[in-house]
Symmetry: D2
Subunit: 366 residues, 4 copies
């Protein structure tokens, strides 16, 4: 508890359960004067929304976001922005049989052991549905960043599904919006489609790896030692449901490199320092270097599958669990817009730490 | 700034530069009544201390820790514990020539762009020397955990150096203390020794991968959504110098798994739930499940190498950097005790969040 | 910004403007298993609600609170509780003429100078209407405290209006609910009624002093030096709109006492230590002593009055302001339930710091 | 615990006990480039130092501050500044007889009930000696403010001792440094000297009231609702040992005012808004208005007196306590420099929140 927030100055607290009346995000610390409209936030929510193609859950919710506070005449006032999304398509009866059963790979058992009770419907608070609130908050962060850092560009995409990785020689960012997987490699996207079809028919699911890059990040964001930019990015991504690993730049592969190979040599360009490579992923000593910030993370396969798995009940008796309900066979797909939102929140947060809570706005009289 | 702390209730703020008079950790939130002696903390610092074998920097410092506050008659009082380590072997002249040069892969340029000035001697605040303070703080956390969770056991070890991984079939935890690399596979340790010798002679360095496990962790530590146990562990490890990736349980490999393979089936054991596997790494929905907590992270190769690398100076002119000074060819080796310390701090922090700041102590009268 | 929250473990973030669609409180850190029903929260909101007698603003709002998350089958789950109150009686046109004028004594000018824009309708975020959200959050805290500390009793009442104080010899707590002023001295209540009538007719307003006591507070809540129980109480009360001073125990009068007079002598009672007096107000060294916690605070007179006052406009030109709208002639009256709510939040927060975030709840299997 | 810190971006954690080896402050968040020298900090410590005249404790400590980190070549680097003050004059034997006795008015009993043990020597952590660390940290804040807000001026002085108040018609700020009481009214200072002499001879002590003003505070510092400038000031002052009440501007007297009297009318001056009065004390809606910030607080009489007071021992038996040791008969005197330090810390903190953690510094290359 007291722990459903992230961010230092741009602070987001998400709230709500999968099958409660609503969920949302309390966004405290948006600088004043930012143009924020519900329809602009809705764009990002629509990107994440389920039920848009056969590869995501068939739960169909409009996920319509309402701004309840903090925006006046279309602009942020510097006070908390409350974003609410009503839950509308709640087929709670799908979950009645798991009230007393712990689904393997889910948070059911951990919540029970900690809290003694839980909202079991759809996973309650541990549902991936919580990420809708993050996407809404990320929309606010993007709106602020668009005003404060117009050259910033955040791009998320999937680079691996199961054992099948994209071929970086075929990388084409324009492809990302052209397939169901936010995949920058059209050939990989095609293979994934077939693979996922087969998996779903086999009542199985699969993991994925996502990459998010931010270009146009000014040097100097972050701080030494603990409140580092990379620390906060790692925490932000690891906090997304089902994420099991996070990398910056070279990531886990850095273990295999030598110092000569890993060094990003520095040159003087026309507009400041330039680098010969980006093994660092844009962060040096916890502070942005001016290079692209590159983060990657792995999402485990959806734990809710139609194949039986052994588990126990509340009374300790053995059982088999087949998780019904409408679930994504690859929950990683919808993690892409979530990760973009988290990147936006972290970058805005560190920008405001660096430049101040109002982002430089001052009022005048006379 | 304001960002040199970690932890919620057990809060550690490290301070100090590599070549200043001293460095240390301000530990706020240690429960009262814990037996803490300087010599017990020293054990952990000695484990991390450089100059102990030819594979680590030849900088020789006693790293003697002094307790300046918070401990009375050998026991913690519940007030802040100040831990100070004097810097004694400061060969700052090694660093004079980097005052105006930015070393590739180092934080020099990022610090300069953010702060406009920096203590360049030995990397100043960004030096791995800062981790001595973490190890001291971790010693306090271990002392508290020894009293509060006597069954808890934290073990760190190296699982990869360069491209050479350990063979898990040869895993023998008793081997960890028998070689220079905290390596549980004696054959790998032998290969690494030769490999590292050759690298050092070649003026090169190499990365590594570390694993830390904690057994005896009670179920129910952590919290949903953001202040998750795995979020905090990821942040803790990523905050260590030179770390570029963090994994929990199956980690990045989870991307390649299917849901059927990834499910940790649950059974009822004599003392509570047991699990058929531990892909989750002991954390479900951000909360400990009672299984071993397993974290892995990659350390990049030491950026300070004797091979020339291209860079720029403060005035923008081009230069070549050969980093003199006494540096670890594989900084990952000394990251092992640091990671154990971070694990101890995170676990104690979440234990105290769960049980309260005094850990259950109460005073009585009469 | 990022600053609309209070509390350490029981953390409340209020949001919303006076004339926006809604306002509310995001409550993070309520322990699990607490019975919370909307109708129980409503009791406290009704106590604060305007329009109930001629001495408070005639703005009539039902102030109906909705629980949007964190409660399942009537009990808290340990996840964030979102409390929303729709704004219904918005006569925004009353405020059109202050869009470009700064009302003396109001936050208008400070908001403008900081943010460059503001929601001027009804004071926007700086409206006393924000305190409805605090009362709702306080209702959650009370529900938790009722379960965790059944002997705790929080009582707020008015002890001074204008220059007229209550006579402590006539103190009768049963009177508090019998008059329009939460006044424990019926004779004073009668005098205040006449006084306030006259003031209102004179287009004037007046200040007040409120006292809140908590009995049944266990010893040991709080912490040394900064996160003291009295520090947090002072901050909590000072954060209420229009409050200009806060006292604990003897308060400002302590300046006039000698050490011999001020000492609260200690005796051993049947159930632990007892004290000969309570100059300390129940807090010693930042930690509760087991005595009644006693807090007092002053509320300035309502700044919105129908008497003209000189001010300036956005363009710097001089003007006179007569604040229309429906305002309390003594805003201190409605501060009583707000202060009780703040006391409840602070006490629960420190209880949870002491005992842990779940308040001692544990789940079991088998 | 975890609660020995204050400040948002300029964050100070004090540590240390009265009779331990040392005490100090960990200052995280000082902007870079600020000139900070030990001798400049020492000026403020000398102002607070005991033993300088017959009206304060005869404990004589040099209170020499050492800077252990965060300053390089005379300027802050933006990393944590560790300030250490060695304890040298420890007459711990004075305290041996209170190891098992609870002194009335002291934190002894509350600490014992919370922690089960305590460093009883000189009050340990609850000693007013802790405020030396605040004064040192305040010196850092002043150095930063001198660079960032050169027109800012902070002035603390005593306005009441016992029942004797200063006469504001005789107010002369130049007098403050000319007497032993930081008193701006020389006649009152003379009366206080005689009064305090008599009290000390009578083995008694007395309370006091302190006022601190800050002129040159820019408008726009603070934030709505909870992280208000006045909330933070109230918490800062209430956190000082022995403080029982805090006021902003009109303070507790606001309860007696009418709205017409209390309104601070606004006029347009040459350099921006001006005000006809300052009942608000420079803060409107939690945000600075540009007027002088005025804070007042009451310090209770020293609890350590040579007159016997009834109490109990650890075993519950009755006893009488006569507190030996060397104590201030009016601890309020030395609270003046402490309060100035707290004011400096709070103002710098809100300035940095407003303008960013580096205070506007940027590094350049080429």
């Amino acid at each position: 508890m007291s722990l459903n927030s992230f961010g230092h100055l741009f602070r987001v607290t998400t709230w709500g359960e999968s099958h409660g009346p609503a969920l949302g995000a309390t966004v405290d610390g948006c600088p004043p004067g930012v143009e924020i409209r519900e329809e602009d936030l809705q764009v990002w929510l629509d990107k994440r929304r389920p039920g848009q193609n056969k590869h995501t859950t068939q739960r169909r919710e409009p996920d319509a976001v309402e701004i309840l506070s903090g925006v006046f005449e279309g602009r942020s006032t510097g006070t908390p922005i409350q974003l609410m999304i009503r839950n509308t398509d709640q087929r709670s009866k799908d979950y009645g049989d798991i009230a007393e059963t712990f689904r393997p790979g889910h948070a059911d058992i951990a919540y029970h052991l900690k809290y003694g009770l839980r909202d079991y419907r759809g996973g309650g608070r541990s549902s991936a549905r919580e990420t809708a609130a993050r996407v809404a908050a990320g929309g606010v962060a993007r709106a602020a960043l668009a005003a404060l850092l117009p050259d910033l560009k955040i791009t998320g995409y999937m680079v691996q599904m199961g054992e099948k990785r994209i071929d970086r020689d075929r990388l084409d960012m324009a492809e990302i919006e052209r397939n169901d997987f936010w995949c920058p490699d059209p050939q990989a996207a095609g293979e994934w489609a077939d693979y996922l079809d087969a998996l779903r028919k086999d009542h199985n699911s699969v993991g994925a790896m996502i990459e998010v890059t931010a270009s146009g990040v000014p040097a100097g964001l972050g701080a030494p030692v603990y409140g580092k930019l990379d620390t906060d990015l790692a925490a932000a991504m690891m906090s997304i449901n089902a994420v099991k690993g996070v990398e910056i730049g070279e990531g886990m592969a850095a273990a295999a490199l030598t110092g000569r190979d890993n060094a990003d040599e520095i040159f003087m360009g026309e507009n400041g320092p330039e680098y010969g490579s980006n093994h660092a992923g844009g962060v040096l000593g916890g502070i942005s270097s001016g290079q692209d910030v590159v983060v990657r993370f792995a999402v485990k396969p959806t734990s809710s599958i139609l194949s039986p798995r052994r588990s126990i009940k509340l009374d300790g008796s053995a059982t088999e669990v087949v998780t019904k309900g409408r679930h994504d066979p690859c929950v990683g797909i919808r993690a892409v817009p979530v990760a973009e939102a988290m990147m936006a929140c972290v970058l805005l947060d560190h920008y405001l730490l660096d430049r101040g809570q109002t982002g430089g706005v001052r009022g005048r009289i006379g």
